[in-house]
């Protein structure tokens, strides 16, 4: 077996994103040099103040938006467009209302041309994994918010992506369902053995789920700090009341508070000149 240096599963190198706001003729910087590494099998969360570019960054990683500068590498190779190696779980489940649970889960597989029989097998496995067996023929309007998000998750997992990108998937759920889903996610993650990049507003959620938490600065976004979470797995929800847990929470909150209150938004507004 050859020894090779451990390449990160996912790497963001100096990612920068500008965009042009036609109405005010200004050039705004959304991301200002983001550097982040996620190793295989890791669960990394991103937290940060509102508007700092967490979701934008995730879109760049997925290839839905093209970065102005810098690169995204998966397994050491540059990626610029969406691909089967990355799958996104959006905050809005966005299940196609005219398809059943089963139809929604196999949707991605259809898009990349996987055969019907194989798709059916894979879908059944993941529908079962997320705890929805028996609901295959239901329509989205018949499902609760939590159930819809499970379908959303199954839809992403069935693609067998190298990296799972999750954009505040539990934000629209009520508090109790949210906690249950966090536990469920960890269970599913351990079984599916995926690498996960998870964006969230909730610090406790980030700490509970992750191996490391990346704290974003305010706009323009960059990684302010990365906090390793040294809590053994498997983790129970009761951990959230532990003193050590609170200590980490305080630490992260202090970092974010700095961004929110002290420095405010370091926004760069350039006047776009004619030669631009």
């Amino acid at each position: 077996m050859t020894e090779h240096a451990r390449i990160p599963k996912l790497e963001a190198r100096d990612v920068r994103l500008d965009y042009f706001q036609p109405r005010t003729d200004a050039r705004l910087v959304a991301l200002d040099g983001v550097n982040l590494e996620v190793m295989a099998g890791e669960f990394v969360s991103i937290v940060g103040p509102s508007g700092c570019g967490k979701t934008t960054f995730l879109s760049v990683v997925d290839g839905l938006i093209t970065a102005s500068a810098g690169r995204i590498l998966v397994d050491g190779e540059v990626v610029t467009k969406p691909g089967p190696d990355r799958a996104v779980v959006f905050q809005d489940a966005s299940l196609l209302p005219w398809r059943t649970v089963f139809g929604n889960v196999v949707y991605g597989l259809e898009c990349i041309g996987v055969g019907a029989r194989e798709a059916k097998e894979r879908a059944s496995h993941f529908i079962d994994l997320v705890g929805l067996s028996g609901f295959e023929q239901h329509y989205p309007y018949e499902l609760s918010g939590g159930m819809q998000q499970r379908v959303n998750l199954a839809r992403a997992l069935v693609m067998d992506p190298k990296i799972l990108l999750m954009d505040e998937p539990f934000a629209s759920l009520d508090a109790q369902t949210r906690e249950v889903m966090q536990e469920e996610l960890l269970r599913i993650w351990i079984q599916a053995k995926k690498t996960v990049l998870f964006v969230t507003h909730q610090i406790d959620e980030a700490i509970f789920l992750s191996d490391r938490v990346a704290v974003f600065s305010g706009r323009p976004g960059t990684v302010k700090a990365t906090i390793p979470i040294e809590i053994a797995r498997p983790r129970a929800l009761a951990l959230k009341r532990d003193a050590r847990f609170h200590a980490v929470e305080d630490r992260i909150w202090a970092l974010i508070e700095e961004e929110v209150k002290g420095k405010l938004n370091r926004r760069t507004i350039d006047r776009a000149g004619p030669g631009f």
């Binding site: 997925d62 839905l64 467009k81 969406p82 691909g83 089967p84 799958a87 996104v88 959006f90 809005d92 966005s94 196609l96 209302p97 005219w98 398809r99 949707y107 991605g108 259809e110 898009c111 990349i112 329509y139 989205p140 309007y141 693609m159």
Partner: protein, 274 residues
């Protein structure tokens, strides 16, 4: 509000079965009731001699006239002619308007090119074009087919186009994140989402198509139910006129009901907000 009544000490009188039925199906009872009352009043006025039955007829006379017509070969011919005008014109409109509406919705350029014509056609009352259409196509079946076609094609196209444009961005985002091809996006996201809009257009277009039959036949025709109404009107056969109007009314209701049924089969996925 729920009040629990104790049978032993209750002083609330027990409602009769009829009263309970009335309360549960209030809508049906009141609606049906007013309809029946209207028919009775009509009958009373018509037969009592207060007003000349020549003017307002009465339900029984209309029914009698209808019955007589059902045995008249000419009536069935008229029905067939009107029916053919409707089906040909409406069918052609659907066949053209749905694909065209989809195309216009997808291509901004095509929309820019065609919108002056669509908007103008939408603003022209077909009735004003009748003299021209008759000039070109005569008073036979084809002039009416064109009038029907023109009436139905615009609303169907506009609604279909509208459906394409309102394809929800979040669903398209999902498709793109799975690297779906443009055709896949069209067939799996745009098309299913447009179906409700298409049906709205179909229903509205059916009404306009029916209107086209009437307007065309009233203006110039040798056969058809509208023609029958016009002739009966000229000869003061009010009961026949009413019967003819009734036929159009019934057709309108039936077509819309059929479309509703069809729509339900396509839209099982919708929560029943109807």
């Amino acid at each position: 509000m729920v009040t629990v009544a104790d049978p032993a000490t209750s002083t609330i009188p027990r409602r009769s079965l009829l009263a309970r039925l009335c309360r549960d199906h209030e809508q049906l009872v009141i609606g049906g009731g007013t309809l029946v009352a209207f028919l009775l009043a009509w009958e009373a006025f018509g037969e009592s001699g207060l007003v000349d039955p020549l003017f307002i007829s009465s339900p029984t006379r209309v029914a009698q006239a209808g019955f007589a017509l059902l045995h008249d070969r000419d009536f069935w011919n008229d029905l067939g002619v009107s029916g053919r005008e409707f089906i040909l014109g409406y069918g052609a409109a659907v066949a053209l308007a749905v694909p065209l509406g989809l195309a216009i919705g997808l291509s901004r350029r095509l929309q820019y090119m065609l919108s002056p014509f669509v908007d103008t056609l939408n603003a022209v009352p077909r009735v004003t074009l009748l003299p021209l259409i008759i000039l070109w196509l005569g008073i036979g079946i084809w002039s009416k087919v064109v009038v029907v076609f023109l009436g139905a094609v615009i609303p169907i196209m506009i609604n279909t186009q509208s459906g394409v444009k309102t394809s929800e961005a979040r669903f398209i985002r999902v498709a793109r994140s799975f690297s779906a091809s443009r055709f896949k996006i069209f067939s799996s996201i745009v098309l299913p989402g447009t179906v409700p809009f298409i049906f709205t257009g179909l229903k509205y277009g059916a009404g306009r198509a029916l209107l086209g039959v009437v307007v065309g036949e009233l203006y110039a025709a040798t056969a058809g139910i509208g023609h029958m109404i016009a002739e009966a009107g000229n000869t003061f056969q009010t009961d026949v006129v009413f019967f003819g109007v009734l036929i159009f009314m019934a057709t309108g209701l039936v077509v819309v009901a059929l479309l509703d049924r069809l729509e339900q089969r396509f839209e099982k996925w919708r929560p029943n907000a109807r």
